[in-house]
Symmetry: C2
Subunit: 220 residues, 2 copies
C-alpha cells in the first residue's frame, strides 16, 4: 500500500489522521510540512500540487497514485478500505449519523475558527493582537464544548459514542489538546474530560500526540 501522511505536528487535523492510522494499525511514512517556517511550506509549489488549498493534512495511498485531502474524508476512506484494526464508524445508519455529527461538531463548528490561518488573518486584517487572538479561539472552543458536553451526557460511555472508540474520539482528543494550549481547564467539562482521559490510555492516541512527532521542537 505505502501510505504517506503530509502533516504538521501541532495541526489538529493532522493529529486526527495520525490517531486513525494508528487505530487501523496501518504503517505510514510521515512527511512534515512546516506551517510557519519560510512563510509556511504549505504555500510551496511542490505541496500546492498535492493540495491547492495549502492546508494539511494530505494523504497519499498506493505509492502516490491516490492523493486525498480533508481529514474526515481521509479517515472514512481508511476505515472503508482497510479492514484491519479498530472499526472507526458503527455499521448501523443511525449510529453512524450520530458519530459523524459529533465529529462534525468539532471539525465544522470549533476547529476552523481557531486555526493558524484565522489567527493570522485577524492580525493582518483587523490588527488583533496575540492575547485577543487566543481569547477568540477560546471563545469558540467554550461554545462548542458546552454543546458537546450536553450531547455526550446522553451518548457517551467510556468514549464519545457508547463504549467503542470512533471517529468522534479521533476528533475530540486533538481538540482537547488545542483547548489546553488556549488555557481551557478540561475538568469544567466532565464528560469531555472522562472521554479524553480514557482515550489517552490507548497507545494509538499516545503515539499520535504532537510532542511525539519527528517535527516537534525539542522540549515541546
Amino acid at each position: 500500500m505505502a501510505l504517506k501522511l503530509y502533516g504538521y505536528w501541532r495541526s489538529t487535523a493532522s493529529y486526527r489522521v495520525r490517531i486513525a492510522l494508528n487505530l487501523k494499525q496501518l504503517e505510514y511514512e510521515y512527511v512534515p510540512i512546516h506551517l510557519v517556517n519560510q512563510g509556511g511550506e504549505q504555500h510551496q509549489q511542490h505541496y500546492l500540487q498535492l493540495n491547492p488549498a495549502a492546508l494539511v493534512p494530505t494523504l497519499a495511498d498506493d505509492d502516490e497514485d491516490i492523493i486525498l485531502n480533508q481529514s474526515l474524508s481521509i479517515i472514512e476512506y481508511l476505515d472503508e478500505r482497510y479492514d484491519q484494526g479498530t472499526r472507526l464508524l458503527p455499521c448501523h445508519t443511525l449510529e453512524k449519523a450520530r458519530v459523524r455529527a459529533l465529529a462534525q461538531d468539532i471539525a465544522c463548528d470549533i476547529q476552523p475558527l481557531g486555526n493558524l490561518r484565522v489567527m493570522q488573518a485577524l492580525e493582518t486584517q483587523f490588527g488583533v493582537a496575540k492575547p485577543e487572538q487566543l481569547k477568540w479561539a477560546a471563545h469558540w472552543i467554550h461554545k462548542g464544548f458546552s454543546a458537546l458536553e450536553q450531547r455526550l451526557a446522553t451518548q457517551s460511555g467510556n468514549y464519545c459514542f457508547d463504549f467503542a472508540v470512533s471517529l468522534a474520539d479521533v476528533c475530540l482528543v486533538p481538540q482537547a489538546y488545542n483547548a489546553k494550549r488556549f488555557g481551557i481547564n478540561l475538568e469544567t467539562y466532565p464528560q469531555i474530560h472522562k472521554v479524553v482521559s480514557n482515550c489517552e490510555q490507548l497507545e494509538a492516541f499516545v503515539a499520535a500526540r504532537p510532542e511525539n512527532q519527528p517535527d516537534a521542537p525539542p522540549g515541546s
Copy 2:
C-alpha cells in the same frame, strides 16, 4: 416517516439539507427558526432541547423519535436510510472520499468562517464594522473557491464530481448563493460557475432556494 426540518431560509447549511431532501424525493415539514428576530429563536429553550449548539439545521425523523444535527451527517443519513430518488454519494470507496472531501472543502474550510455568529462576534469582540465583516467573509470564500476551482478542473463533469449530482453539489450551490450575497462574481471561477449553472436547472435545487421558503421576507 414524517420528516421535519428546522431551518432558516438564508442559512446555507439548512439550504443543503433542503436540496438533499428534494433530490431524495422526500416530503418534509419545514419549521422556520428565525436566527435574528427576538435575539435569535435558536437560543430559545424549546430549540436548545433539540440542538444545544443553537445552530440550524436540525432534522427530526420517525415523528421526532430521531433528532439529528450537522447538515453533512444528516444528508448521509438520508442517503443511507432512504433508497428513493438521487443517490448522493457514489458506491466506490475512493469516489466517495473525493465527493466527501469536496463537500468538506466547503463545510469545514469556507462556510464556518463567514456565517452569522462569526460576523456578530467580529463586531462584539473587535468592533469590526459591517463592510469589513463582508470583506472578511469574501476573503475566505475567494480562498476556498480558488482551491476548489483547481480541484474541479480535474474532477468535474457536468457536476462537481463527474456527471452525477452528489453531496458536493448540494454544498456548492448554497455556498455560491452566499458568495453572490458578498459581491463575488462567480464567472471568475469558470468551473464553479458551470457546475452551479447546471445544478440550477434542476427542480430540486430551485425549490430549495432561500427566496422560495415560507420564512423568506417578501421580495427577497
